[in-house]
Structure formats: C-alpha cells, structure tokens
Symmetry: C2
Subunit: 569 residues, 2 copies
C-alpha cells in the first residue's frame, strides 16, 4: 500500500473523502466479538475504511442481510478440483471464498518447483487470493517416484515469492519424530509450518510439535484433535471428498469452543465443489449440527487468517482487506454478493467475468511411461496368502488384509467374485518402466478397468481392473491424451476425461469437467463400482504416507513400517 | 536454535533422551483449551519438550499445584519502576513474570535511540525476556522538548536489533487521524504497531485503525474497549499506578470473553510492584472480580504473546520456550517457583541471584538546565480568570478548569487555601532556559514544593509548589544530584531520591528505592498532599498527549486542540 493510498483510506474513514464502494444496510459480523452490528461498510483502495454511515461511492444494498468477511480455506490442494486456478477461483468465489492457502504439491510432484511458481503466476490477478505453502514432501516418501525431489534450496526459492507464506504440510511425520536432519532442515526454512500427523498421539505427537510444526488437518476424531490443540497445533477441521471429518470434529468445538480451529477442504472433487460448495458448505454443515453460526464463521474467516499470519484478512475492520460476503441467511450461508479486494466479484452464486491468464505450453505433455511390457501387470507366483489393500469408505486411510489369492496358471490374479481388483502404478515421468502391482478390495468392480494420472502424490499412472486388456487399454488411452482418466471394459475404452495440464488439470469449465466425471462414474456403476468418489479413492491408493497399505511404482508400501512388502505374505 | 539442539529436543519429547529439568506432579494449564492436565512437563535446552511422564533430569516437585506459562506484560515502560533493568527483572520474575514488551520512550527522550539500544543491551542475559518496541513519539508532540527527536531512520535502526518487535504506541493519535505523512511513515516501518488512543471513538477510531495500528491500552470504560476490539485492536487492559482501569474493563471480558484481551501495567511505581505485584496482581484482581482464573491466565500469558507475534511464548506446549510458574493457588496467583528459559529463576517470591550487567557511564549526567532566572517561576500579570489543571484521581487524564486567580502585586500566585499550586516545567537537556508555568489543583499541597526529573515524556524538570523558595531549592538539589526527586519546605530540601541514570532510574535495590519514596511521600503528607502516587501524578502533568490540560517547558497545552494556551483566559 503506498503512503498516498494509506492517507486516502484514512480520509475515507474520517469521512473526508468519498469511498469507492459502500455496502449499506447490513448486519455486519464483528469477528473479534462475534456480534452483529447494524451499519454500512465503506471500502477504498481495496480495503475497509470503516463501519458506520457513509455517503457516495458505488452502493451495494445488503437489505438487512448479514455481511461477513470473505471465507478462507486454511488448507487446500487446488489440483484436486481438476480445474485451472482461474476456473477454481470462478467456482469458489461464487460461493463466498476469497482466499485459499494452497499446498501445490501435486503440481510440484509433476513439474518440480516450477509447478508451484506457475500456480503463483497463474493466480496473480484472480478475484481469489491464492497463498502458497512451499511443498515439503516431494517425494512424499522415499518409496514414491515424482519427476524429481524438491529440496530445501528450491523451497527457499519459492519462499522468496510474494504470497508464499510458509512450509506446507510435513507429511513425513515418522522422519520428523525420528529427528531426521533432512526433513528438519525443511521445517527450519520458515517459522510458519503446516503439519500432517494422522493418528499421531502422546510422546510421538510431542516430538512432532517440538519440531516447530503448528497445525494439523488429519484428525478423524475430536479426541485426536483435542490432543493436537492442547499442544498448540491449529486444528484444521477437514471436509474433503474422501475424508469427511467435520461432523466428528465438531464435538471439539462444542466442548472447548472454536479457538484455534479453522475450516479446510484439503481435497475436493469438482462435483463436490459445484454441488455442495466450499467453505460455505462447511458453515452450513456446522450450523445444522448445532454450532452457533458465529462460531462457524470465525472458523471460516478470522481463524484461518490468524493460523496463517494473514494479519489483514478475516475480519471486517478498518485497514483490513475488503473481502466481503453478503449472505442470504445463517442457515444456507449462500453468498448473495461477493466482494473481493473491494470489487463485486460474484452475485447470486455466479462469478462475474474476469480475464483468465493463458496457460503456458510447458505445463502440458508430462505423461511419458515406458511402453508396458507384456508381463508388466503380472502379479507373480502364488502363495498361501497375499496382501490386500482394503478401502475404508470415506477415508484416506486403508486397511491391510491378508487373503488366499485367486490363482490361474500358478499366478495370482484378480478375483471379481471376492471384489479383489488388480492395482498397478506405472512410473510416468522418466519412462523407467517401473510398475508396482497389488490387489485392492472395496471398489466393487465386476468388469473392466479404470485409470488415472491423478495418483497421489507422485502422480504416476494408477490403474485398477479385473481384466488386463481393459487395464492396458486405459493406460494407452491416457498416454495418448497426455494425461487424464479413462474407463474401459472388454479391452475397449468406454469413456475418458483429458487432464492435459500436468496430467492433473482440465482446461474445460467446471460444469463440463463435472459432466464428464459424472459420465465416467456412471460407467463405473455399470461395471459394479460402489462408494463415493471412486476416482479420488483410486488416486489416494498410491499415497505412501497415509496408513496402512498402499501401492507405488516401487511396490506395496507398509506405511507404518515405511518399507516395501511383497504381495505374497 | 541449532539443528542439533532441535534434534535433542525432539529426542527428549520422544522419550529417547533425558530432559534437563522436569516439573513433576503438576496440574498443567493448557492455554489453547483452558483445561488443567495432571502431568509432568519436560524441559530441554530452554524449551518445553512435552507434557507427560519423564524420567531423569533436575526434578522440581509441583506437589499437585498449578503450573502455568510465565506471565507476560503486554505493554510496560520499565523506566516507571525507577529501577535498573536488572533490578526490575529481579522484582517481577519473583512474581512470575518472564517476558515484558517495553516501550523505552522515557530513555529515548533523554538519551535518544541510544537509550533504547542500551535497554536491549542491559537486558540481554536477564532471567526476564525483554522485548522492545521502537518509540514512535519522541517527542510525544511538537509541544514537548526531549533531548532530540527520534526519527524513522533511528527507529529503523532499532528495529534491526534482536528482540525489537514493532513500532511502539503511536500516541500522536490526532496526527494519525489527520493523515500526517511523518507519523504515518513511522507507522509504516513495521507490520506490528501498538496504539494509544484515549477516548477516541467512531470515525476517528476507524481512521486510527485504518492506519494499520493493532492495539490500544488507553480505554477507561468497557464500552470504549469494546469499540476498539470490534475494530480489531487488541485490548490491553491496564492497571498502572495512576491509571487503574482493570476493574472497569473486566466487564468486556464478562460480556464478550477474553479473546483479543491481554493484561498490561504500562507504568508502575516501584512500591506498587513490591506491594501489589505485577501481572500476578492483575490475575488476582480479575479472579476476585469474578473472572474465571483460566480466562485471567490466558490474558496474562497466551494472549499478550499472540498480540505481539511471539509465537513460541505464552503456552506450555512442545517447542515453546520453557518459561513456567508453579502457582500457590488460583486465588493469590502467588508464584511458588518460577522457571525462566528452562532454569529455576525464583522461589517463594525471591529471585535467585544472577549477574547484573555494569551500567555504562554515558547514561548518567543528563540534567543540564540553564540557571533559573529570578523571574523564571513568575506566573505573570493577573486577569479575571486563569486556566487550572485539574487532577483526576487515579487517572492520567486531567480536567481544564477556569478560576479567578489569587493575586499579589498584580501577579498571579499560588493559593494553598484553594489547593492551587504553582507548576513549572524547566527544560533540562540543552540549557535553553525555557520554563513553562501554570496552576494545578488536586494535590492538596499546603506548604513547600516537590520536584522530579521524571516528567513524561520529555523528562524535563517538573516542580509543583506553593512557595517559590522551596521550588527553587528542589530544582537546585535535583540538578546537583544529576537527576531525581526532591521535597522542600521553607526553602530547605527535606528529602530526596537520586535518579542518576538518565534522571529516571536509581541504581539502588528496589527495597531501598521504595523506602526512600515512602519517606518522600510521608514528607508530602506532612505538607498536606493527599491522593495515591503523587510523584507519578506530578510526572504525568507534563505529558502533552493525554487530555485535557497539561504543562510543558513551552507552556500550558490544550491537548485536544494541540496548542499552547495562555494562563489568563
């Protein structure tokens, strides 16, 4: 802010200069006291000048409705939306979100630090403030194969950028707790460090917090969240497509108040964003679960801002950024009018048009696996018992089961009758030819196969299927698309969604992406698949840092043991 | 913290290395949830490793008593204690305070930026963490005469130091509200800026907050404090020797909770520190006024830390600084054992010995007024009505009265019968010979005079009296002492306290300073003076930024009008 802009803002506050914009006749939410004040709000130069009565300026009539600070997502991977940053902004700004704190580690796994720099570039002039945390865990573990590792020097380079505000979730909690110097060097890069410690408690959690980590979004029970809050970790209550933790965690708010709690979405499929919403949906869900709307609102506004040291965000107060939402009511939390940086950015659930930046060519063309060897999908010789990844509905964690295998010609094979699909992860960055194979239970897949280049976190090519021909067809089609999702049956591709940007993002509007994904899910339903968000479930089966059993291009991963284990026990 | 220290802390947290110290058998306060947890606390390398059960290390038995974070004073001028920084530390650490956020503007008025640098140097190795805000208002206004002005470049130099954490209270609120570029340039030096806005409300308060100021400690009513909190200003609840605001402000906590509220003492005479205490006394007072002890404690620990961005202070949690207090109980808040930076620093109300740094010579010898002219104390020719400064008991504000003057030989004179004492402020830094004179009501002084080189904020020589010979005797004695306080009657000095360091601080122990001040107050009582802390009252009569009527070496100051006014109306 220039000195003359500051003087003008002060003059508007005093009443000696005309505001740019006035929201009049509002019930104004005071985040610092959780009150409602009947007043107008004056805006000048993208900032709030004051809360009172003002003449002049563009008038926005609140008509007695509630005016709240712009909503903030405390932790999100925008890549999970499968949308370009500008399209993601269009979707969430329409729902009242005006700031997000991103960990662009999906882009960074595929494109290196350049991917995170691109996110900052691509979000410079959006009606959404996009803050970036420097990805700390690329690779997520030594058992994954991204395009390359992101070291502390590349992270430090990222942290020199505007809007880069800290170190992103340190997922490799076993190394932190063990005191590994390499991971601690990353933690030491910045005083603000997000955490990721699913199920970590007691002395191990003390060790994790003692490393200097100050948030966590992985709690699945309120008792786990309480343990973290006692240790000074901000509790980020998550409601993701495949990790719906909010209802369970609200008990912490009921018992101990909303302090040191904030909302986040982490990973949301585009259909969830379009159909349920974003942080507005979390407010609605919390209020319908009996949380005071004012408590929900501070967890959606001021608390995420304070968690991340964003001192000028999250409240309607003089000098704060003019990010404002007129809500229809405190039950739906529907955004009637959204003001971002002092300018009306959305009305009645639709973002106003804005210029989206062009997509540079180098973010495309990232899918280069070696040609599949004829035995690439072979599960190997049979034994008495094999390890099976058990999907847990609505969660990112999996179980590790042991079952007698189905056997054909002495080799382990998929067994649709027992819901045992074959799973393969194919290295796609450097054409190494590495393929990991295993078995997964819980999709309900009866026929064919489905595959994706969205495969956390290294984003190699993951494919699940009960016949090898369909699996191969999916893989070949996705390679031809330069990344994406495909469904096949009888060895033929039946449907697809191209994700040309890093193999992660579509260049289509959200409505088109959702329509295509819906069609793909419908195909999967025909092939027997049950459960919510099967593509997201598939994509997390490759993530080697969330217990219990996962699969990467290097093989089956025993997450707690941090080691590769054979299929046959 | 070195990487190897961090690894050791994590190992202690895990249980794989021995702690330096363990507080065992405590009820541990969890500042983030306001709970009490029965546990031990392990300390290593001056930090908290964890809250659990630990073997080894130096054992400190809490015996089931409450263990709380070290108390923090959110805003204090240590100079008001009249003690050297080391002696101040000895006094307050014994009472559970382990960190203070100082505005050293008294030293800066006398010694320039060097005074603030000296405070940082003199407090480097104390058992008390001393943080410094860069003084923003030297001079407090254009109507005061310090040794020199402290400009933005000198402030920036101070802000480069360790433990310099922001811009100190911006007392010149009229200039901020008016958008004065010079004062706004100081505000812009750092994102963290303390405020000082007594009685400022409405659009003026919006303008003050819009400048980027984020705290205030000048509220005298809970409604004023609420107005500030709504605007995102941290409310620093003050209980100073001459500004006892806590009781009135606690209603804000009762109605709206303790969030965005923190305790501060601002200015405390040494006798108040020794007899009432420090932040411990504010907790005691709040609890006895019906505030939950847990709410009092967060206002005394975590909240001042958060207000000032001290992310590692104010809570007992892994990785936080090991500043801890075992309390006798939650009524007295008496500190049984104080641990500072992981080391026992006080037991049973007595600080353990530590090395105090030597006092450099250049901080002495700062009192150089011009010899008093024979007519220096003359109040001038009489008129029908004269302005009178009205003391308001227990407050820093004064009233502005108009009275018919007492007259002798056509000149206005003091009138003990109507409690109208003569007041003079004598410039003492540069021997300019400037003397301001006026009348003050409310001391009750019947005979003689008293004087001090503690005279906010420029710390010229202030003297009040009902006979000129006694006033002159006080002034001459104080000059001979190189600064201090004196009481005279019948033209003879009856008692004195030398304050050789900057004319503000004694080099004696606190008990000696209190004894001498008590003796001086007893002398004043004999001379008719009533009311608490008369020397502090005297010292604030020269402060040109707290309404309504004050006196500096330049004359009577109409504070709201920011101008010099004549004695005769």
């Amino acid at each position: 802010m220039t000195p003359s802009d500051r003087r003008h803002l002060i003059a508007v506050a005093r009443g000696d200069a005309e505001p740019d914009l006035v929201v009049e006749g509002a019930r104004v939410f005071s985040a610092f006291t959780r009150e409602w004040l009947d007043a107008d709000v004056a805006v000048a130069g993208g900032r709030i000048a004051g809360v009172g009565r003002y003449a002049g300026g563009e008038r926005v009539d609140a008509g007695g409705r509630c005016l709240v600070p712009g909503l903030i997502d405390a932790h999100v991977h925008v890549e999970s939306s499968k949308l370009l940053p500008s399209e993601f902004a269009r979707v969430v700004v329409a729902r009242g979100t005006t700031a997000v704190v991103c960990d662009p580690h999906e882009l960074a796994n595929v494109l290196g630090a350049d991917g995170a720099h691109w996110l900052l570039d691509a979000s410079r002039d959006l009606p959404l403030r996009v803050y970036v945390m420097a990805p700390s865990c690329v690779p997520a573990s030594a058992l994954e194969s991204p395009r390359g590792a992101l070291g502390p020097e590349a992270m430090a380079g990222l942290l020199r950028r505007d809007r880069a505000i800290g170190v992103a979730e340190v997922m490799d909690f076993p190394s932190v707790i063990a005191g590994d110097p390499d991971v601690l060097a990353k933690v030491a890069l910045h005083p603000h460090v997000d955490g990721h410690a699913p199920g970590v408690t007691g002395a191990a959690l003390d060790a994790y917090a003692a490393a200097g980590i100050r948030s966590d979004h992985e709690s699945t029970t309120w008792e786990e969240a309480l343990d973290k809050r006692r240790r000074g970790l901000w509790v980020l209550l998550r409601e993701a497509s495949n990790a719906r933790n909010l209802d369970a965690l609200l008990e912490l708010v009921r018992r101990h108040g909303p302090e040191y709690c904030a909302f986040c979405t982490d990973d949301r499929e585009p259909d969830m964003l379009l159909r349920e919403g974003h942080i507005d949906a979390m407010c609605r869900q919390a209020a319908s679960a009996g949380i005071a709307p004012e408590d929900a609102l501070v967890m959606a506004t001021l608390h995420p801002a304070r968690c991340h040291g964003l001192a000028e965000l999250g409240a309607i107060a003089p000098g704060f950024r003019a990010d404002l939402v007129i809500l229809e009511d405190l039950a739906s939390f529907r955004a009637a009018v959204v003001i971002a940086d002092g300018v009306v950015a959305a009305r009645d659930g639709e973002a106003l048009p804005f210029a989206a930046p062009p997509v540079p060519g180098w973010v495309r063309g990232t899918v280069h696996p070696a040609p599949l060897a004829t035995d690439a999908l072979d599960l190997g010789p049979a034994g008495a018992s094999v390890r099976v990844i058990d999907i847990v509905a609505g969660q990112l964690i999996t179980g590790a089961a042991e079952e007698p295998p189905a056997v054909r010609d002495g080799r382990v094979v998929a067994d649709a009758g027992r819901d045992l699909a074959k799973l393969a992860v194919i290295e796609r960055h450097h054409a190494t030819g590495r393929v990991g194979v295993g078995l997964v239970r819980g999709f309900g897949l009866e026929r064919g196969a489905f595959a994706s280049t969205v495969a956390h976190d290294a984003h190699n090519l993951v494919v699940a299927g009960v016949d090898d021909a369909s699996m191969t067809a999916c893989v070949e089609r996705i390679v031809a698309l330069g990344g994406g999702i495909a469904v096949a049956d009888g060895g033929e591709v039946r449907g697809e969604l191209a994700l040309p940007v890093a193999g992660l993002l579509s260049e289509e509007p959200a409505s088109v992406v959702v329509e295509r994904l819906d069609a793909l899910v419908a195909l999967l339903r025909e092939q027997g698949v049950t459960g919510d968000a099967p593509f997201m479930t598939l994509s997390f089966l490759a993530l080697s840092v969330i217990p219990e059993l996962k699969l990467t291009d290097r093989g089956l991963v025993d997450v707690v043991g941090a080691r590769i284990v054979p299929l046959v026990v």
